[in-house]
């Protein structure tokens, strides 16, 4: 899987220095000169980015996902761990507008259900109790939670008032837990693990790649050898070995960070290559040369001049790496080496769903997979837009 990550990194890196080396369409570079003469690189990026409509929409989706991740307790209608023996594998609750008598209601509502075990297949079978209408409501009091570990609350964005009626928007899992709430809760880990992992890759990648590209020569050669070496390591075994070696008495939080470190240990090489390519190209550029000639220290050159000059590019590369991390986390979870119960991530949820019963009879349990796809899609388009916007030599 990571080969894919690396695969995307390298040719981009290969293409970049060449693209920067010679502007082939003087017309366009010059057209930009005037308008953006006073614009900072960031403003320029934003100016170009916002014209990329799809990327903009996807940026909003990404933002939404992070908002959800920040407020999971409030957005999820239930405690994601609240089991219910009467609702195992319950299909998604049907949200009605028209009641059993055929009357239309403006406010959507649900019916309560009763379940009975089929004596032949031992499945629970559910029957809607159409006698009582339970309207869906905003801001409902329900399961209590501790928000950000700071204060206790029990307000939820939406839900059903009657605590005996459960709303299963995306069905229930084998323990009768609400999949919607679980997916919402999974957002927090899944959306952040990529970010944290990428930030780590980023730090390693930018330092190593920057050094390699800035100094060139022997340093570059050695770093390139190391990168080649790391890339020659088959990734899955590497993950397996490292993940299996994690001390078992670590808390979920520690394991979480350890896993991100493991993912980024391999992921940084791609970024390092990009940074190196940019740095190599920049090294030759006038303003770096000027700074060097004027006796500015090397660190200062790297930090003040080189880093900002490829920052925009790196940001784009980061956005594209986050989805890879998300996928990698699901893969590790699948192998039973990633996060585990009681952590809730999309990968963990998918791992719970990867059995015959779920796929054949409870396909709603695969919904976390759809979330992964949505997040990856949004992040990719967003990152693509950023990359296009960040590249000063493209329209």
């Amino acid at each position: 899987m990571l080969r894919r990550i690396l695969g995307r990194g390298q040719p981009v890196a290969a293409g970049v220095p060449a693209a920067t080396a010679e502007p082939t369409q003087p017309l366009e570079t010059e057209t930009e000169k005037h308008d953006y003469a006073v614009a900072s690189e960031w403003e320029l990026m934003w100016y170009k980015f916002k014209r990329h409509r799809l990327a903009l929409i996807c940026g909003v989706v990404v933002l939404l996902l992070y908002v959800v991740a920040a407020f999971v307790e409030f957005i999820a209608p239930y405690n994601p761990e609240a089991q219910n023996p009467a609702a195992a594998y319950q299909a998604p609750t049907r949200v009605h507008f028209v009641d059993a008598e055929g009357n239309f209601h403006l406010q959507p509502f649900v019916y309560g259900t009763t379940s009975q075990r089929n004596p032949d297949t031992f499945e629970l079978e559910f029957v809607e109790d159409t006698s009582v209408i339970h309207p869906l409501q905003l801001f409902v009091r329900g399961d209590s939670y501790r928000m950000w570990g700071l204060f206790d609350a029990n307000l939820h964005l939406f839900g059903v008032e009657d605590p005996n009626v459960r709303l299963y928007l995306l069905g229930a899992d084998r323990q009768g837990r609400d999949m919607f709430s679980r997916i919402v809760h999974g957002t927090r880990i899944s959306m952040s693990i990529g970010l944290v992992g990428v930030v780590m890759s980023f730090v390693i990648g930018i330092v190593v790649g920057g050094i390699s590209g800035y100094f060139g020569g022997t340093v570059d050669l050695v770093v390139q050898r190391i990168i080649e070496f790391i890339r020659s390591m088959p990734t899955i075994p590497l993950w397996l070995g490292l993940a299996a070696a994690l001390p078992a008495d670590w808390s979920i939080l520690q394991i979480y960070f350890a896993i991100t470190v493991i993912l980024s240990l391999i992921g940084w090489t791609g970024l390092a290559q990009v940074v190196r390519g940019r740095a190599l190209a920049l090294r030759e550029e006038d303003f770096i040369m000027a700074a060097r000639l004027s006796g500015t220290s090397r660190t200062r050159i790297i930090v003040r001049h080189m880093v900002p000059s490829f920052m925009s590019h790196i940001i784009a590369a980061l956005t594209l790496a986050v989805p890879e991390m998300i996928i990698a986390e699901t893969a590790l979870s699948f192998l039973g080496l990633g996060l585990r119960y009681p952590a809730i991530s999309w990968g963990v949820l998918l791992q719970e769903a990867q059995n015959l019963r779920s796929i054949a009879l409870a396909p709603w349990l695969l919904a976390p997979g759809a979330m992964v796809v949505i997040a990856v899609l949004a992040l990719n388009f967003f990152g693509d837009g950023l990359r296009d916007a960040a590249d000063p030599y493209k329209r």
């Binding site: 761990e81 089991q83 023996p85 195992a88 075990r117 089929n118 032949d120 297949t121 031992f122 499945e123 084998r174 323990q175 009768g176 299996a244 078992a248 008495d249 039973g336 585990r340 119960y341 009681p342 990867q354 059995n355 015959l356 019963r357 054949a360 009879l361």
Partner: protein, 662 residues
């Protein structure tokens, strides 16, 4: 049952008759016991499979009468006389783990009923203890041949013990299962078919007689394996190195189809002759192939040499879902060991398209997930808590077993403590019912009583040193729904105000922790709880003092016991009592009155101490039998079929008389 009806009843009466028959024998000489007359005429004409008849005609094989022993085991087919031919398909998980087809087809010295309560002759015709149970004489059925045509004799048993199990070059520490009173069994070859075992102390619980952990196979083909042993072949070491092995020992165990010790390891060596119904013919990284054993020593009631089925193929499946799907799609002749209960709805729905029938069999595990608290915890506060029986009672009361049964076992398991199954002759229901009722109020009251009444702002109980009470429940996510049950148990306990985390572990890691006695609480299953293995192996099993495997809650006690008090930690009086009770039980004769009394003593103690807490046991296991398979289960038989490692899964169904319907 499916067997030759010359069996021995488990009851004291028939067993004594059996012994009485032996009592006429002069020690040191062999007298074949006069067996109960079968209800049918012993077949005199023998038939064989067409594929063997061809080979006989071609001169490759001697005629069937010469291949069979003069007195072959006669098997009454489960439903009807079968037809020869065909191939059975099975699936397995890995080469070293047992699979449906392979596990069923082992030939042992004796054979047993499904609940293991009845014992039948097989390779051996009978056994006889002396009066004080310090000796046991086993008589082999004469004329049995290995699959290469060589005779099977007492030498093969002697070789197994003296040149392997007792050979300190191969196994520096012999298995505890081969000891009585701390000393190895002694062996004496009386003649080619009679062997006498001697014990340092009275040992009626002789493991070779009392089935446990697989059919008794205390033999290996000496004529084949001697070439790999330096005692018989001075070049064995050099040959081993040349063949790429670390040492002659690793080559020997490899050639003996084992990765080490006495452990059966599938069929990695197809060259070693066998006594079982099928011979492995090829083994590669994808499948095992078997072909009928032309020298197999059993016939049906019409004199047809068994097995009926010519070939078997076991394909490895890389994951359980593939195996389940293979079964549902009707690719497997029989499937059970890796079929998951959670898939039952889809398995039941698939019967028609997959052309199979599903039968529910019941785990012999007294508890499918049982829990144990570390009784020698390095943290004195936790240690004090865990060793307080009221704490364990509270934890047991706090588990909502009904919810577990509904959510994990589709409502089909049995709520019970981890104790012996009701098939045991001495069974008392109170053992299973002890503290199993869900009563959170009582549990909270007990916890308050033992000094856990203080709680912090989050409602978590505080230990006596003021720290929130938190610990981990560690388990291996294998062999049954451990994860699912532990997740629920932890929630139930959290509701009592105890911050418990369930932690799935990698197995070697957990074993290292258990060895160092560092765990808080662990979860595993309580198995071998049918009567006979409970008797023969209970002391060193999960219900023995200190526990076993993943529920080894008192490893240091066991060290103390085993070293005579030199190492380890001195156990509390209850543990010493339990050990004494087990030892006393094992010194009574199977089925005797003293035996019944001693067994009750043992289980009263395990129940009272509650060192091992049960949840739900005897879980149903769907097994799939394709419609073209005959003689697998008895038609219309509704009795509970026990299933598990203790009775070797399919083994008691006699796969050699299964056949493929035309």
């Amino acid at each position: 049952m499916t067997q030759d009806e010359t069996f021995l009843r488990r009851s004291g009466m028939t067993r004594r008759q059996f012994n009485l028959m032996f009592s006429g024998a002069v020690a040191g000489s062999v007298v074949l016991p006069t067996l109960v007359k079968p209800a049918y005429a012993q077949p005199t004409q023998f038939n064989e499979a067409p594929m063997l008849a061809e080979r006989v005609a071609a001169g490759e094989l001697p005629p069937v009468a010469e291949r069979l022993p003069p007195n072959p085991v006669v098997v009454t087919p489960t439903n009807e006389i079968g037809t020869y031919g065909g191939r059975m398909f099975g699936a397995g998980r890995a080469p070293e783990t047992a699979n449906d087809l392979q596990i069923g087809q082992v030939a042992g010295l004796f054979r047993y009923s499904n609940d293991l309560n009845e014992i039948y002759p097989e390779l051996a015709e009978g056994y006889q203890f002396n009066d004080d149970f310090t000796e046991c004489t086993i008589t082999l059925r004469p004329g049995i041949k290995w699959s290469d045509g060589e005779p099977f004799t007492v030498d093969d048993i002697v070789f197994y013990f003296e040149d392997w199990q007792y050979d300190s070059d191969l196994l520096p520490v012999p298995s505890a299962t081969l000891m009585a009173g701390g000393e190895l069994f002694s062996l004496e070859k009386l003649d080619d078919h009679t062997i006498k075992f001697g014990f340092a102390v009275p040992h009626p619980a002789f493991s070779i007689i009392h089935f446990s952990g697989g059919p008794s196979e205390p033999f290996r083909p000496a004529h084949y394996l001697r070439q790999f042993h330096p005692k018989y072949n001075p070049d064995a070491a050099a040959e081993a190195t040349a063949a790429g092995f670390n040492s002659w020992q690793t080559r020997f165990t490899n050639r003996a189809n084992s990765a080490g010790g006495s452990f059966h390891n599938g069929a990695s060596n197809i060259d070693m002759p066998v006594l079982s119904p099928w011979i492995p013919t090829s083994v590669d990284s994808q499948r095992q192939q078997y072909e009928r054993n032309p020298y197999f020593f059993k016939v049906d009631t019409e004199g047809n040499q068994l097995p009926y089925v010519d070939y078997m193929t076991v394909e490895y499946a890389s994951n359980a879902e593939v195996m389940n799907l293979k079964a549902v799609s009707g690719e497997l002749s029989v499937a059970g060991m890796d079929i998951q209960l959670s898939n039952f709805p889809i398995i039941r729905r698939g019967e028609e398209t997959g052309n199979y029938k599903t039968k529910l069999v019941y785990s012999e595990r007294g508890s499918d997930v049982c829990l144990a608290f570390n009784q020698i915890h390095p943290d004195p506060v936790l240690s004090k808590l865990f060793t307080d029986v009221r704490f364990r009672q509270a934890m047991s009361l706090g588990i909502n077993r009904t919810e577990i049964n509904e959510l994990v076992f589709l409502g089909q398991g049995t709520i019970r403590q981890a104790t012996v199954n009701e098939s045991a002759s001495f069974f008392e229901p109170r053992w299973a019912e002890h503290y199993v009722a869900y009563d959170p109020d009582a549990a909270n009251a007990l916890l308050d009583e033992i000094g856990l009444s203080e709680r912090n702002a989050d409602g978590v109980r505080l230990r006596e040193d003021g720290v929130p009470l938190t610990f981990q429940l560690e388990f291996l996510p294998h062999e049954g729904p451990k994860t699912e049950v532990c997740e629920l148990v932890v929630k139930h306990w959290q509701a009592l105000g105890i911050q418990v985390q369930a932690a799935a572990r990698e197995r070697s890691y957990l074993i290292e922790r258990l060895d160092a006695q560092q765990q808080d609480a662990t979860a595993w299953h309580a198995d071998r709880l049918l009567e006979r293995p409970a008797y023969a192996y209970g002391l060193i099993g999960k219900m023995g003092p200190g526990g076993d495997s993943i529920v080894r809650y008192g490893k240091l006690w066991q060290d103390w016991f085993n070293s005579g008090g030199e190492r380890g930690t001195e156990p509390p009086q209850e543990a010493k009592d339990l050990r004494a009770a087990y030892v006393a039980w094992q010194e009574t004769e199977f089925g005797s009155d003293a035996y019944m009394a001693a067994a009750k003593q043992v289980y009263d103690l395990t129940t009272e101490t509650l060192w091992v807490i049960g949840t739900v046991g005897q879980s149903p296991q769907p097994v799939i039998v394709r419609n073209d398979m005959g003689n697998v289960f008895r038609d219309g038989d509704e009795t509970r079929f026990w299933w598990g490692a203790a009775n070797w899964f399919w083994h008691t169904l006699s796969p050699e008389q299964w056949y493929i319907k035309a």
